[in-house]
């Protein structure tokens, strides 16, 4: 099962195993923490990461857009990882990709990493802080808001799932009472581990499907 529907704040959201949420009622696709250009930042510092991460991430976004045909793509912060230089090939790739989707509006809620780079140059509308989309608030930092249920990123949530004697550390969607956290969309991103607790729902994302978790210690 690549998708899993979940009800939040009275709305139906479709979670996708490629670490995105589709809000069908508003035809809005949500992703978070894409970190474009992270590989380039590493390579400049002498850490050998092959290029290809940007293409992969763009291809995954293409597939999601093809599947849901959204009117609007909202990035919940950290679209880019660091400043670009003249040698950064990823900027051109992302710009070209943006131009191939002129029918989709794209908003970025500026995250802490986005201050190094002007995303407007990519043809993306940059919104500071947060955007109201009742009953939701789109934000980068996962703090509760009085105006609605917060959908946020920033923390790169993950969870450890037991599979017989194995354990898998997987990116995950975490739904708390007032805030939900999306897994990082980018390929080169780490995890911050969460545990199941009362009032919390966790859905783990694997390359082959979603795994909703219920009680602690079991899948």
């Amino acid at each position: 099962m690549m998708t899993h529907d979940i009800e939040v704040a009275g709305e139906r959201l479709t979670l996708h195993a490629q670490r995105a949420i589709h809000w069908a009622a508003r035809r809005t696709l949500l992703v978070s923490d894409v970190h474009f250009g992270k590989g380039a930042v590493f390579r400049r510092a002498g850490i050998a990461v092959p290029s290809g991460d940007t293409e992969d991430d763009l291809a995954r976004l293409d597939a999601l857009i093809a599947e849901f045909a959204p009117e609007r793509l909202v990035v919940l912060g950290d679209l880019v990882h660091g400043a670009a230089t003249e040698r950064s090939g990823w900027v051109e790739k992302v710009r070209a990709w943006r131009e191939s989707h002129t029918d989709v509006a794209m908003d970025l809620i500026a995250g802490n990493h986005d201050r190094h780079f002007d995303a407007a140059a990519l043809g993306v509308d940059v919104r500071p802080d947060r955007v109201l989309a009742p009953p939701f608030v789109f934000a980068h930092h996962p703090s509760p808001h009085a105006d609605g249920y917060t959908l946020a990123g920033h923390v790169h949530p993950g969870v450890t799932v037991r599979d017989g004697w194995r354990r898998h550390r997987l990116p995950a969607f975490v739904f708390d009472r007032e805030v939900a956290m999306l897994p990082a969309f980018g390929t080169l991103t780490g995890l911050h581990e969460f545990m199941l607790e009362p009032g919390r729902r966790i859905v783990a994302a694997t390359p082959a499907g979603l795994v909703p978790l219920r009680q602690r210690g079991r899948v």
């Binding site: 002498g46 990461v49 990493h113 545990m195 694997t206």
Partner: protein, 813 residues
């Protein structure tokens, strides 16, 4: 290089000065010490092997000191490499007094990872003649552009405790450093000091190509005793904690002025320390805990307490196997089998430092069969049958690190570097393509197949490789060395005192308020921030004990050979084997005791399950691989999900439906033919390699941990090695470091060569096929091990289906 085989009168006069110093302390130079001095004078390299406390340091130092009296020079003349920082201080003091005795105007300095900046500055000004340092600090010195001039007056190098380095990557790194120095200074002498090993010749070749082996004849006896069960005492057939033996251990500890209790894992040490604390009749300050994850300051305090005699007992792991001698230690207690003969000898040697006193070790078995291991180890010691420590070969991650060091320390051309590196034993068989692949990784990032824009670690100008970026140089120097911790978090009190490190995988399962046992204290997790777990003292323990990776060591090949002999009645009678008599009777009644040329297989069908047991006695790592291969081969006869468990003696396999099994089928299943292919098919090598990649990525400079002093500026450069592994596999599958990871999985995690040797032996041996009604004493410990999963498909699709199936089962419950 002087080559005269006889010593001149001047040399003898200089030697007399040293001999007079010995005499002044009412000692006499031992023949092996004088032999080493002469061999040094004659220009030889060498390896001195002798037990601790026999005067190896002076055996190695005498030669260069006498030489220095004969032919004075200025500048750095002797490099003394020690594997432990904590040893450096003691060694430096010891050497300084010998230097003084020879009336040499030498300054003795030490430089280790924790040297102060004043010491480092003095060193940079070249202000010492004798330098005591670690392999990592030597690598660091080699990374400065003036490295060659700095070492220009060096007479020789002495490597202390070479046995601790020869078998690991630190030893590989040191081999490369030595090769570098010898390349600059062809007359340089290299000497090593080592405990006794099963492969001293090879250890010498790894250190210095050729040279002389000099051994001290040791009159020191080692006495191995066991805590034997009283007649009629119910002693467990399985287990690995042995806490039921607490009264015996306490009794032994209280009888001695000061004792060391060795446990095999850090978790076991924590639990034993807790257990001893709970019954400790004296001041709690006289009992301490020592293991590798505890903060250096606390460890140092425990060592200091032992040295001055303030501690009655220290519970330790291999962290105290080597290091400073503790003259006051009277008793050494080993909890559980030592798993290796050399380790038993080394640990026993921590006691009885008074001249003429024997080394004594009391072994406390955690289950009954360990008595046989103890008897076997004693017999092996008596017959001088010790394990070898094989040097690692062709590690590409260490090579990558060293090439960058060479580039910083003056630069190199590819041909020269290849010639120099392949002159070391560690890289003697390194194919040129592989060397070129590592060079390509440093220049362009990876193999020619993938693209790495912006990446340039090494720059080539007119055929010479060097580093241009100051940032890359800085980062390399910060991360030099092969042993650093990764994926571990610091543990400290809210008030600030550091306690040590635990692995992230353990802490990630804890939530604030949860309690755990660590560094001998009950702690409560307050919060985790900036790679640090803040804790406060907890009144008691409800939670667990951290488990560190790489906990349990496998039974060594030499000890398992001896063990098979012992079980088959092939070694002289001993109290241990007599105590085991009843158990072995049960084993031979219900099944059989295999002779040395036999392999025992048992099949036990009970109401509860259908189990196959195989006992190759090849150590848990090799059994791990064999279990997967057997499951795979059995699944070809009868498809299904096979569960398995292993220990050092054998393995068990079970399935809901087992294939029909008899002696003939068993023979086919255990055939060595096609082993490598079956391993690949049965084990998810890439999953194992992904874990192994952590260390490789760190050593090769692919991940950068950042340093506390650099705060968060490097935070954005942190990526987990697992992610890098995935990206490399996808975009650059020919990357040399991926190759290295898979090789290490086969060599180290699965002990492939031992597995293969084991199957060859099994195929030549007689197979004992026994169908038993009840679990035999050999089978029982395997049966109680937690069964682990089988080998059914392991792609993500299968995993998700499996997880979802379990989910539904869980929801019903």
């Amino acid at each position: 290089m002087p080559t005269s085989s006889t010593t001149s009168a001047a040399w003898r006069r200089a030697e007399a000065r040293l001999l007079a110093w010995f005499a002044a302390q009412e000692r006499r130079a031992a023949p092996f010490q004088r032999a080493a001095w002469r061999a040094w004078h004659e220009g030889h390299n060498g390896l001195i092997h002798a037990p601790t406390g026999t005067g190896k340091t002076l055996a190695a130092a005498g030669g260069p000191l006498i030489d220095a009296v004969l032919r004075p020079r200025t500048g750095l003349q002797l490099l003394w490499i020690t594997p432990l920082r904590s040893l450096a201080t003691d060694t430096a003091q010891h050497l300084a007094s010998a230097v003084e005795a020879m009336e040499l105007p030498w300054r003795v300095l030490r430089r280790t990872g924790d040297s102060g900046s004043a010491e480092r500055a003095r060193l940079r000004r070249g202000a010492c003649e004798l330098l005591v340092t670690t392999p990592e600090s030597l690598a660091l010195l080699l990374s400065y552009p003036d490295a060659k001039e700095r070492f220009a007056n060096l007479r020789g190098i002495v490597v202390d405790e070479w046995h601790e380095l020869v078998g690991n990557k630190r030893g590989t790194l040191l081999q490369l450093g030595l090769t570098r120095l010898r390349h600059w200074l062809p007359g340089l002498r290299t000497w090593g000091l080592s405990a006794t090993l099963g492969n001293l010749d090879e250890a010498l070749r790894a250190l210095a190509h050729d040279g002389v082996l000099i051994g001290a004849r040791s009159k020191k006896k080692t006495i191995v005793e066991s805590a034997l069960p009283e007649s009629g005492e119910r002693f467990p057939w399985a287990g690995h904690l042995g806490l039921s033996q607490l009264p015996r251990v306490l009794d032994a500890v209280l009888k001695a002025r000061s004792s060391l209790v060795f446990a095999n894992t850090r978790s076991q040490a924590e639990l034993w320390h807790e257990a001893l604390s709970s019954v400790w009749p004296e001041s709690p300050d006289t009992l301490a805990l020592h293991h590798g994850s505890i903060d250096p300051k606390l460890r140092f305090a425990a060592e200091e307490g032992l040295r001055v005699g303030a501690l009655r007992c220290v519970v330790a792991t291999s962290s105290l196997d080597l290091g400073v001698d503790f003259a006051s230690v009277e008793r050494v207690i080993q909890v559980g089998s030592p798993k290796s003969i050399a380790r038993l000898l080394q640990r026993a040697g921590r006691s009885g430092h008074r001249p003429g006193a024997p080394s004594r070790i009391l072994c406390v078995p955690t289950h009954l069969l360990e008595l046989a291991e103890i008897a076997a180890a004693r017999h092996a010691l008596e017959t001088g049958h010790l394990e070898p420590r094989r040097p690692m070969r062709g590690c590409l991650d260490v090579l990558a690190q060293h090439l960058l060091t060479m580039a910083l320390g003056g630069g190199f051309t590819a041909d020269d570097a290849y010639a120099e590196i392949t002159s070391s034993l560690a890289y003697a068989n390194l194919p040129r393509e592989r060397f070129d692949a590592v060079l390509a990784y440093l220049r362009t990032g990876g193999s020619a197949l993938a693209s790495y824009p912006e990446y340039q670690k090494l720059v080539e100008t007119h055929g010479r490789f060097h580093v241009e970026s100051g940032r890359i140089a800085r980062m390399h120097r910060l991360s030099i060395g092969t042993i650093t911790s990764d994926g571990s978090l610091h543990v400290r009190y809210m008030k600030g005192a550091r306690l040590g490190t635990v692995e992230e995988s353990f802490l990630s399962r804890l939530r604030p308020g949860d309690r755990f046992l660590f560094a001998g204290r009950n702690l409560e997790l307050v919060r985790v921030r900036d790679m640090t777990a803040y804790v406060r003292a907890a009144p008691n323990r409800r939670g667990g004990v951290p488990r560190w990776m790489g906990g349990r060591l496998p039974l060594s090949g030499e000890l398992s050979d001896e063990l098979r002999e012992a079980l088959a009645g092939g070694i002289p009678a001993s109290a241990e084997m007599r105590a085991l008599g009843a158990l072995l009777d049960v084993q031979s009644r219900q099944s059989s005791i295999p002779r040395v040329d036999e392999t025992l297989c048992e099949r036990t069908r009970t109401r509860e399950g259908d189990y196959l047991f195989v006992f190759p006695f090849a150590g848990r790592l090799a059994h791990e691989g064999l279990a997967a291969v057997l499951a795979y081969r059995m699944a070809r006869i009868q498809p299904g999900d096979y569960g398995y468990a292993v220990n050092d003696y054998g393995l068990t396999l079970t399935a809901a439906r087992m294939p029909p099994l008899d002696e003939e089928t068993m023979r086919g299943l255990l055939h060595p033919w096609g082993l490598r292919a079956d391993i690949r098919a049965s084990i998810n090598l890439s999953e194992l390699a992904r874990r192994q990649f952590r260390e490789i990525a760190r050593v090769a400079g692919l991940v950068f941990n950042g340093y506390p002093s650099h705060g968060k500026t490097l935070r954005q450069l942190q990526a987990s090695s697992g992610l890098l592994f995935d990206v490399l596999r996808r975009h650059d599958p020919a990357h040399p470091l991926l190759w290295q990871a898979e090789r290490e999985v086969l060599d180290q995690q699965l002990d492939y060569s031992r597995l293969r040797a084991c199957l060859l032996r099994v195929s030549r041996s007689r197979l004992l096929w026994r169908e038993t009604k009840r679990l035999s004493p050999l089978a029982f410990p395997l049966w109680v091990e937690r069964l682990r999963g089988g080998i059914a498909g392991d792609d993500w699709k299968t995993r998700v289906e499996r997880m979802l199936a379990t989910l539904e089962a869980g929801a019903d419950a």
